[in-house]
Symmetry: C2
Subunit: 330 residues, 2 copies
């Protein structure tokens, strides 16, 4: 089995690569090669028993992506994206990467399929987002609720979802768009996602550093851990995607919590001194973006298909401490 | 007021042009010029008191569309499209016209706005379709139901809706996407829309010609007349579109009927002899497309905003006889 991962140097991409190295197989089929691409060269995962090719490839350069597809990977994990904050501040770049480059990837697959006489038909697992939803919301967003994004990032994700459904219906690939909850706790330095503070208010204080909280404690989020997110991708790659029918977008499971509940979970682990490192600094632009995101979803279809996530923020903090926490040097 | 109409040689485009000529104003503002474009040169409407420029312009040629936008029309009616049947049989052409050319038009507006220092911000009224919906459906499709199209045409319409919402939110134009019901009774020769038979089974027998019915009489459709459809566009052009908020797509009013009810309305007008001209000839590909379309919608938002349509098929047949019927030469 040959795997291609775009956006492989990102947080989810690195963790996914590490899991591929550890598992060495998808759905019982041994992995032969993994091709990791990103704008900066990804690092090969430790301990892989398969050949790993790491390349610095800008997905916005269509010819290089077509070259990666010419190797006919069986599974494509398409994670490469300009994140929400940047797609909002740079309209052209957001559409160029999140829409045009993605469509060029899909077209490369379609044309490779033509060249193969119809034999080539990979799985395409896409990192979508609950940012496809936009307020006003019902109390719980179910699987039939409309995609009405309030950011360009969300619009781009929703557009790609429609392309995935159409390309899958046409038989060009077997696609699935996984609408990721807000993924917390993200390790490492902050990226330009508007949702970054949901992670930094846990991660930074646990390392003895101050963190900025730009929105009220009542801010509600639908969240899952990075470990669960990687699990979603691997589960989708092993699933019979025909079971999805024509609706190829799935809201991933997670759970609904508030910033206030996050802070209380942090207090249970780190105590008052750690919590005091969170500094309130309201930011209207972040608040506006985040309040347009759903705080509570139903993920019935995904759960029925076997996707699983955490059910408490204490569990998420524990996973962060196990997987990613780097204690501050005293 | 300057008006641009794309797809102006099409059925709705011609009727819209005629109404513009008759009304000579939109929302009380006199029309100065109307620019009509299509792949074949549109015919200027009779009796217009304003300057009419008719041009054969392929919207898939971005530079020519940019030229039309350089004249800074105040209202753009974007009707040009490859219809459902053709977008299904020609994947590349469907995406080239229905998505790429439309996006090029939107980009031309955005760049013209930049050149104007932000002063230029036209209204953009788009012909979307209830083909953005796909089965399975609840009994009635409400304004919060997801767009899950089952044709490439529907996917392209749904994608453009997302672009319209994003461009409007960004302030690049004031957009509205009108999800047209199945428009019946269409005059003139059949086009390649899968829905064409809903019109021909009325139009052709009334002229003494045979018509093919490819689906069962139980086939349900959500429909409105061409006159109502033109009314939707003119109402949207005169409306304060800020009232739509961020959700720029509106399911247009119509009413739910069946092919069997259509035939009974035809019988009341033309008698049994006319009805006998309908020949059953089941076509699985048409049936599959049409059964994926919604038969019953709620159009609460649109109705609250003042959009109106017919409420019986007898009314629609009467409108056809008034507006379009050309009696057969005996």
């Amino acid at each position: 089995m040959r795997i291609l991962v775009t956006g492989a140097a990102g947080m989810i991409g690195r963790k996914l690569s590490a899991r591929l190295a550890a598992d060495a197989a998808i759905a019982g089929q041994p992995i032969e090669t993994v091709h990791l691409i990103d704008v900066v060269a990804p690092t090969p995962p430790a301990g892989a028993r398969f050949a790993t090719l790491c390349e610095a490839i800008d997905v916005a350069a269509p010819s290089t992506v077509a070259k990666a597809i010419a190797a006919r990977p069986d599974v494509v994990f398409h994670l490469a994206a300009v994140v929400s904050g940047e797609a909002e501040s740079d309209f052209d770049k957001g559409y160029a990467v999140n829409l045009d480059a993605t469509r060029a990837l899909f077209e490369a697959i379609r044309h490779e399929r033509e060249r193969s006489g119809g034999a080539y038909r990979p799985r395409l697992i896409y990192a979508s987002s609950i940012a496809v939803f936009g307020a006003p919301f019902p109390e719980t967003i179910d699987d039939d609720f409309l995609a009405a994004p309030l950011t360009s990032y969300g619009a781009q994700k929703a557009i790609v979802e429609l392309l995935i459904a159409d390309y899958s219906r046409r038989g060009f690939f077997e696609g699935a768009a996984l609408r990721l909850p807000t993924v917390v706790v993200r390790p490492g330095p902050a990226n330009r996602a508007a949702s970054g503070f949901f992670s930094s208010i846990i991660r930074e204080p646990l390392c003895g550093r101050e963190a900025i909280l730009p929105t009220p404690e009542t801010t509600r989020l639908w969240c899952a851990s990075p470990r669960a997110a990687v699990g979603f991708f691997l589960h989708a790659a092993a699933l019979d995607l025909e079971r999805l029918g024509p609706r190829r977008s799935l809201t991933m499971p997670g759970f609904s919590t508030t910033v206030g509940e996050q802070i209380e979970a942090l207090r249970r682990v780190g105590g008052d001194a750690v919590v005091r490192l969170i500094r309130r600094q309201p930011d209207e632009s972040v608040r506006r973006i985040v309040f347009g995101w759903p705080g509570r979803c139903e993920a019935r279809r995904a759960q029925a298909l076997g996707f699983v996530a955490e059910s408490s923020f204490d569990e998420i903090v524990r996973i962060y401490l196990e997987d990613d926490h780097v204690p501050a040097v005293a």
